[in-house]
């Protein structure tokens, strides 16, 4: 019970922090408006998917070092398939790329299960493998994206009956994000598979003895992580209009946001909301640092310090709570 409360309070604390940052942003830049919020949502997109991928795997007691490489791979596949292809062809490309992500994720899981090599090592190896595969698909950045795909994360959603001053604050990118994550996460969380993922993360032995098929669950967790990773790769192609074979900075960012979001490395605890909120916090912080025109070399000090401080605070609170 106590840890349930703790978990929820952590997420609400994060929300509060996000609101404070928003207010701060408005103070720094009074003109910060809905359009800028849309930019924030678009910027958050690849990070959010990377974090979602990492979250599922971490809850299952693993870690996925290959997430950024998978994003690069799926992104170059998508971009090179859509290169000088018709707009409609993209309708086929999207599910195909998602399937690739799912399968690659499943392969990660399968390798872990079959070789019994620890997750961190297997995904370190697949980090290189997927990177290499991405380079084999596209030697240099290139390719293209269908216009409708690019447009699908630009602008806002018009909802009849709701004034535009409100819908202006509902960027399409945010809707795409929430729909994509929700469509996978909500049913998962309610399913037996979801429960099993938490179970193997919490105690593999107990889960096995409770009749959970540990191997199958682990593979499924990685496969779902791969699916999210592919969404992240697609989102890269959608926002840049190209595919780049060199992985972006999503691996470390995803691990950091997972932990900031209250998911314990080691597994069994946490949810998806916290990490996603953490992503928005980190992105907004970056915006503020740019708006403030702070010396760019100081920004990484600030980012590192905030990350350490927040996690320390969380650890400190948890420690105080444990005391009677």
């Amino acid at each position: 019970m106590t840890s349930f409360i703790r978990r929820q309070s952590w997420v609400s604390g994060l929300f509060a922090l996000l609101v404070v940052l928003f207010i701060l942003t408005r103070i720094i830049q009074p003109g910060y408006g809905s359009g800028d919020f849309g930019s924030l949502a678009r910027a958050a997109l690849p990070y959010a998917f990377a974090v979602a991928a990492q979250t599922v795997v971490v809850i299952a007691g693993g870690i996925d070092l290959s997430v950024a490489s998978l994003m690069a791979l799926t992104s170059v596949i998508a971009a090179s398939m859509m290169n000088s292809a018709s707009e409609e062809y993209a309708l086929f490309v999207v599910p195909f790329v998602l399937a690739v992500g799912f399968l690659v994720g499943a392969l990660n899981g399968l390798l872990i299960v079959v070789t019994r090599v620890p997750d961190i090592v297997v995904t370190l190896a697949t980090l290189f493998i997927l990177q290499g595969a991405a380079l084999m698909v596209l030697e240099a950045p290139g390719g293209a994206a269908a216009e409708w795909l690019k447009a699908s994360i630009v602008g806002t959603v018009a909802i009849p009956g709701i004034p535009e001053s409100v819908t202006a604050w509902i960027p399409k990118a945010l809707v795409v994000l929430l729909v994509c994550l929700g469509l996978v996460w909500i049913p998962l969380k309610r399913s037996a598979l979801g429960l099993s993922i938490y179970a193997i993360g919490s105690s593999e032995l107990a889960a096995f003895r409770s009749g959970v098929s540990v191997a199958r669950t682990r593979i499924a967790a990685y496969a779902i992580g791969g699916l999210f990773g592919a969404m992240g790769g697609l989102s890269l192609t959608m926002s840049t209009g190209i595919g780049a074979p060199i992985p972006g900075p999503y691996l470390l960012a995803s691990v950091a946001a997972v932990v900031l979001g209250g998911v314990t490395l080691g597994g069994g605890k946490g949810g998806l909301v916290g990490p996603i909120v953490a992503v928005f916090i980190l992105r907004l912080m970056r915006t503020d640092l740019t708006l403030l025109a702070i010396d760019p070399n100081v920004t990484s000090i600030v980012e590192g310090t905030v990350m350490v401080a927040v996690v320390m605070l969380g650890a400190f609170l948890a420690m105080r709570e444990r005391r009677p």
Partner: protein, 511 residues
């Protein structure tokens, strides 16, 4: 007797590398019987249960379920075949709440809830995380979860070992009714009273082999012990507890606890522990004994009261402080005390390195000497000593004590040290504790097996609802008196509680 056995296993063997956990075990269980599986520590009982329920793959052997051969590959499959285990270690997922744990195993909630109530835990919150539930309750939940799916064969591995008397009694009751309803139960325990009160037949394992199947009838205990221990049989009489070390007049007590209180769990507890004394602590589950031991061990900070060691007031902020004051704590849950992947030697030598000033080079000679002396003294089976996790439960338990024998701690707080230990080993531990006391050491000894008080202790401190309700001299601390006291009843009240008293009256045998 031509009834077909529900479960018939023959020639089961299991090798872990060079260690043969099982060589040639067989087990045949009839419908509606409670079948005891007995054997000394490390005989292979748990391994057999794991094999029968698919948690471990056997190296050899045939398993017939209702006459049909079955290759049990996973716990899930065993479950479908009607075999449901309660393992020696809790199998609930720590980070899931109890409802989710039930959902995970597709256990119906209502029957589960009923069973939990039946088993004597009335106020369970199903939204609690398993992590926050005390060990004994976890065991009960594990059992209730198994019962709720109405298994044909229920396998209970030392189900009662971690339970206080009141809960153990309920378990026996429930098991008995299972059998009456025509279901079978495989029951592992080191407690003869339970076996004789409950079981129809017993299969005895020794060194991984089935060495006999006996009907349970009055007087069969001797035979079982003989089968279990083989040549190792130890007929030394219970250690007499009457030789209280002569106390010098005016000597300060080793440990003096005054008005100790911790939250709502412990209230105004006061008692003394002398040099050379073994004091028993007796309590039902959750009466504050965990907190008392925690406070004395330096793990929990008390809210009020004082602790004096040799007449000097102490405050412990960390177990290291208690150890510094010569007080060592042996937790009841051995998983809490042991480095499972490390060797027996490292486990025993661990306290030598703990303090900052001992971080330097290790004196190998001295250490080896101290460690092997302790191993010898506790007769630890060191065949699998490379990693403690490969030792049997009982031998693991011994390592937790050996550590403090080697470190020569002056005061040892033993929390249920004989939990899950076979009769032979128990005798050794009793003897050891008395010997230590004879050397002037003092021991605080919590036990869930009331008969142990008479065998080992000089006094019994009874705790009920966070208070010391009685301190009984050993002469009158028989099981009946202790049971009464631990329910908070005054001395001399009618003896109407406790199956142990029942069993004693009825005589062993008929369930």
């Amino acid at each position: 007797m031509t009834t077909q056995p529900v479960l018939d296993a023959t020639g089961v063997a299991k090798n872990y590398g060079a260690v043969a956990a099982l060589r040639n075990a067989s087990l045949s269980v009839l419908p509606g019987e409670v079948h005891a599986l007995m054997g000394a520590n490390g005989a292979g009982k748990s391994t057999l249960v794991k094999i029968l329920t698919g948690a471990v793959r056997p190296s050899a052997g045939d398993i017939l379920i209702r006459g049909k051969p079955l290759d049990v590959r996973s716990p899930a499959q065993a479950r479908r075949a009607g075999l449901v285990p309660v393992y020696q270690e809790p199998a609930l997922i720590p980070d899931l709440d109890i409802v989710s744990n039930l959902r995970l195993t597709r256990t119906p909630v209502e029957p589960f809830r009923n069973w939990v109530r039946e088993l004597g835990v009335p106020d369970l919150d199903l939204d609690d995380l398993a992590r926050d539930v005390p060990l004994a309750i976890l065991r009960v939940l594990d059992l209730a979860r198994a019962l709720a799916v109405q298994p044909d064969v229920l396998l209970l591995d030392e189900m009662t070992a971690a339970l206080p008397a009141n809960l153990a009694e309920r378990v026996l009751d429930v098991v008995r009714r299972q059998a009456a309803a025509g279901r079978s139960v495989i029951f592992i325990s080191h407690r003869f009273v339970e076996i004789s009160a409950l079981c129809d037949r017993a299969t005895v394992l020794r060194d991984g082999e089935t060495v006999g199947v006996v009907d349970i009838e009055p007087g069969v205990e001797e035979k079982i012990v003989e089968l279990m221990l083989g040549a190792r049989v130890d007929r030394s009489r219970p250690v007499s507890a009457s030789q209280v070390a002569a106390r010098q007049p005016g000597e300060k007590p080793r440990l003096s606890v005054r008005n100790l209180s911790i939250g709502t769990k412990l209230n105004d507890v006061s008692f003394d522990l002398s040099n050379g004394e073994v004091a028993g602590v007796v309590a039902l589950e959750g009466q504050g004994q965990d907190e008392l031991f925690g406070a004395l061990a330096g793990s929990i900070r008390p809210a009020g009261g004082t602790i004096e060691v040799d007449g000097r007031a102490v405050r412990f902020g960390h177990p290291a402080d208690a150890i510094q004051a010569g007080i060592a704590y042996v937790p009841g849950d051995r998983a809490e005390a042991l480095l499972m992947q490390r060797s027996v030697r490292e486990n025993i030598a661990l306290p030598f390195s703990a303090r900052l000033r001992n971080w330097g080079p290790i004196g190998s000679q001295r250490e080896r000497g101290a460690v092997s002396k302790a191993i010898e003294r506790l007769q630890i089976d060191t065949r699998a000593q490379g990693e403690v996790q490969r030792l049997s439960g009982g031998n693991q338990q011994k390592v937790t004590i050996a550590r403090w024998v080697a470190a020569d701690a002056r005061t040892i707080l033993c929390f249920d040290p004989t939990r899950g230990i076979d009769v032979g080993t128990k005798q050794e531990i009793y003897k050891l504790l008395r010997e230590l006391a004879g050397q002037g050491k003092s021991i605080l000894f919590y036990t869930s097996e009331l008969e142990e008080v008479r065998r080992v202790c000089d006094r019994a401190i009874v705790i009920f609802s966070g208070r010391v309700v009685d301190i009984l001299p050993v002469e009158i601390a028989d099981e009946a008196a202790l049971t009464r006291a631990s329910y908070g009843l005054p001395r001399g009240a009618a003896a109407d509680v406790g199956i142990l008293a029942d069993a004693a009256q009825k005589g062993a045998g008929a369930p």
